[in-house]
Subunit: 185 residues, 4 copies
DNA sequence: TATGAATGAGATTTCATTCAT
DNA sequence: AATGAATGAAATCTCATTCAT
């Protein structure tokens, strides 16, 4: 069952939800079709189990974003947080993205995704809001920041852009830290 | 054929590449399977045609991002550009995202996506670079910005976040304009 | 489609509903799985179509049981009716019986069967009732008679008893005719 | 093992032979798959064991049909015998019918069924034959009567007709008693 | 050009049976 | 004796593609 979950992450990552065949997952887990259906009602059921895992991890991550200072030390803490995000994303990112695949959006999974996004944004939002007026709504701005983090991670980890992980983290940390403690000239 | 292309955008958007059935497309286009294969070699062929359209439009958009001034007028121009991006994204976004679906990444389509991303980032990069030193690489930072634009659009248009289009555009314009003309305190 | 219906009768007859494989039906109809699912949603759907056919034929048969005289001519007419029943039963009997298979009873099909049985019994009942007092309820007695007809046909046609068709018809005609025009000594 | 036999009757009754899953039987018996195969070689083996039980009971019942008088007392004895049949049928009827499911007919079980039917018919036949001339063969007529008894029981017990048990027994007793002691007008 | 019935390879799912504990 | 997780052969069902009209 653990093997099936891991195989699921692996195969969904490589193929996406619809192109992933139960046969692939079963082979990757070195088990049989029968065993698969012993633990999961169907492909979507396994997927939901994975999503539940991601959700839990992500929520924990959101909670772990504490107060950030305006000094370089604050920037370093922010970078460390982004590093944890990326580590998680390396493992669960494909599930995160697969689950925003069209058609799956509709149901409970979609709502879970929305909630999750909201949690992350809220964590960021609290930091932005704590740092004085900006002529944008912190709640909205934080969503933009979360959007940037998620997609940039995807671009880098999927090899679509050539930046390496360190560069990415530096850039994100800087842009975010600036966003928190910079005011327009 | 025009009807098939439009139906393709519609169905790929709702279902993603793998879950989209030729039957759905054909029904949406009010034509027959036979006709589909008269114009396209197979499902991927139609998809490629759509991607080519997106690519052309996106390249045009990238080219249209001219010099941006540091004044409010510059911000307004930037917002207008983002508005054009969003309009395009409303139509072609699903194709843009579908094509980053795993498995399709591998081939020519994937490379096309990478190029496109690069084009957009380059356009943004030129603006950032023009505005003096920052301790991040403009090429990398611009990718982060493009990532933010794309994903925020997705979040908003897919209804995953409750911000409306105007709020989104304001926020993106502000964050980008700040990024171009702000320096750390 | 006609071929699939005929193949269905054939295969359901030989194997019963659950043991009949779609593959058998498809092979018997010299067509493909794809074609099967083009016309029928699933195995039960084909079965329902067959049942609808049986029901229609049986209802027609029930309607055709006219007034029966007490003379030998009446007995001959009764025998002719039974002959028509048996002819129908040779073709559709297996469907008739399969559909009383457990589990299928529950739903709409079950009700259809009950109705059909009622129609046949009603036709017989009218004849019995028309022929004076008996210390049994004609409605119930007629059901017993229908039960006899159906099951005796099954026993004979399935080879479980060695009587031939003519003997069976003679016996049923006599027993029924007696039932209509005999009073206790 | 007793529990498995009872569970078998129950599940075969509700689902028929092919649709009955070993899992259902095992669950109904509150035991495990392993235990099932400890006592029975396979699903058919359990079924055969049940059939053997039915056969024994039915044979005993056939033997118990003694001489029937033409007086009301004879009719009461006949009704009592039918009552015993019905009691048996309530318990074993589903097995009786399941085993006439197509496909099972072929083998040893089929022959057993034929023999059993013959035994019952023979018992009835002896009664009919003892009561003078009729222009039908008693052996055949008795089969018709047995057919009626079996199927009417099924109709009533399965709820396909609304008659209650008492009505059914009265009707069958009357019709059979008449058949034994009535001559055409 | 246009159609849509037909196909069949390949996917999902079920379930009788085995076997290590 | 008893268990129940694991198996895989065999069933059901889907859908991209073809082809006769």
């Amino acid at each position: 069952m653990r093997r099936l979950l891991d195989a699921g992450i692996d195969v969904f990552a490589r193929r996406g939800f619809h192109a992933a065949r139960v046969d692939d997952i079963v082979k990757a887990a070195k088990t049989s079709h029968g065993t698969f259906y012993l633990y999961f009602a169907n492909k979507e059921d396994l997927f939901q189990a994975l999503v539940a895992d991601v959700a839990e991890e992500m929520r924990g991550l959101a909670d772990s974003l504490g107060p950030i200072g305006s000094d370089p030390r604050g920037r370093a803490e922010l970078r460390a947080w982004l590093d944890r995000f990326t580590t998680l994303y390396e493992h669960y990112g494909p599930i995160l993205r697969t689950w925003t695949e069209a058609e799956i959006d509709q149901n409970a999974l979609g709502r879970l995704g929305t909630d999750l996004l909201g949690d992350l944004a809220l964590a960021v939002s609290r930091r932005i809001a704590a740092n004085g007026a900006r002529d944008v709504d912190p709640a909205v701005a934080s969503l933009a920041v979360v959007a940037m983090i998620e997609r940039f991670n995807y671009f880098v980890l999927s090899g679509q852009v050539s930046a390496d992980r360190a560069e990415m983290l530096d850039t994100l940390a800087t842009v975010m830290h600036d966003a928190l403690f910079t005011s327009p000239r």
